[in-house]
Amino acid sequence: MLAALIVVFREVIEAGIIVGIVMAATASVPGRGRWIAGGIFAGFIGACLVALFIQGITEAFAGMGQELFNAAVLGTAVVMLTWHNVWMSSHGRELATEARSLGQSVASGSRTLLALSIVCGVAVLREGSEVVLFLYGILASGGDSFASVFGGGIAGLLLGAAISALTYLGLLRIPGRYLFAATSGMIALLAAGLASQTVAFLQQADVLTALSNALWDSSWLLSDSGMLGRVLHTLIGYNDHPSGMQVIVYLAVLALTFVLMKAVAPARVLASSSR
C-alpha cells in the first residue's frame, strides 16, 4: 500500500501543480471547472490507453516512438500554454473587468478553456501511464492485494489533489490586480520548462543532436530528483544539468511569450496600466 501511495504521489506532483496554476489563471473565466475536470478525465483515459499500447508506441518510429510521443505531448502543452497567455493578454482583462453578459463571456472564454483543458489532460496523461503500468506491475507480481494497491493509489491521488488545492489557494491570495501578471508569469515559466523537457526527449531520440552536452551541473547544490528540486522542475523548469539546446529553447519560449503578449495587448490596457 505504501509503495503504491509513494509512487502515485511522486508522479502526480507535477500534474497537481499544473492543475492548480491553471485553475488560478482562469479564475475570471466562467465555466472553467467543467473544462478542467473534463481535461483531467480525458488525460486519465489517455493514460490507460498509452499503458495498454506502450509496446506499439515504443516500437514506432524505429524504436524511438516513446521519446517522440512524449515530445509531441509536451510540445502540445507548450503551444497551448503560450496560446493561453497570448489570448488572455488580449481578452483576459475584458473578461475580468467589463460587465459583459455571462453568455458572451462563456462563448469567448471557451476557446482558452479548451487550450487549458488540453494542458491538464496532457499533464495527467504524461505521468499517468507510468502510474498505471507500475500499479498493474505490483498487482501482477502478486505481492499486494488489489484493495491495498487501490487504497494506496487513491491516497496518493488525494495528496496530489491537495497539492492542486494548495497551489490554487496560494495563488488566489495574490491581490486581484497582480493575479493576472502572476499567473501569466507562472504559465510562461511552466511552458518554458515543458519546452526544455521536450528538447530532452528529442535529444534522447537523436532527432535533435546539436548542443546536447550539459551546460552546467548544479546537482551538488540542488538535485532535480529531490522533493524541492521536483517542485522547482515543474514550476520553473529547474534542471540540474541542462543541455545547451534546452537552455536556448527555454529562453526562446520565454522571450517569444513576452513579445507576443506585448504585441496583442490592447492599447487602452497599456494606457490604463501606466496611469
Binding site: T58, G63, T82, W83, E130, V199, Q204, A252
Partner: protein, 113 residues
C-alpha cells in the same frame, strides 16, 4: 490579432521544423542488457569513453519496467517481453548509475574508460 496568432503558429512550426530537420547521428557499439527476475544482466557495463553507443534492453519479466538515469538523462518504459533501444551520447570517463524506476532495488552502472 488573428494574423499575429497565425504568425506565432508559424514561428512555432519553424522552430520545431528546424529541430526535426537535424540529421540523426551515426551509432557505434551496441550493448545488450536483459532484465530477468527484476535484475539487470549484466548490471555493470563497460564502454569506451567519448564514444557513441546504444543500449538495447530486453525485459524478460512478465511486468513492465522503466530503465531510467539522472545523469546522463534517459528514461524508457519497456513492456513485458519487449526490447527497447536507448541512444547514448559519448560519456566522459567515469561511472554512471541507472535503475529500474518501477523497482528501485534493481540498479546497474555504466563504466566509461
Amino acid at each position: 490579432m488573428k494574423t499575429k496568432l497565425f504568425l506565432s503558429a508559424i514561428a512555432f512550426a519553424a522552430i520545431f521544423g528546424a529541430i526535426l530537420a537535424q540529421p540523426a547521428a551515426a551509432q557505434d557499439a551496441t550493448i545488450n542488457i536483459v532484465v530477468k527476475n527484476k535484475k539487470f544482466d549484466p548490471s555493470t557495463i563497460n564502454v569506451p569513453a567519448d564514444k557513441l553507443f546504444k543500449l538495447v534492453v530486453k525485459n524478460a519479466d512478465a511486468v513492465a519496467m522503466e530503465i531510467e538515469s539522472r545523469n546522463p538523462r534517459f528514461e524508457k518504459i519497456i513492456a513485458p517481453g519487449a526490447t527497447a533501444t536507448i541512444n547514448m551520447k559519448p560519456l566522459k570517463a567515469g561511472t554512471y548509475s541507472f535503475y529500474d524506476d518501477f523497482n528501485k532495488s534493481n540498479k546497474g552502472e555504466i563504466v566509461a574508460k
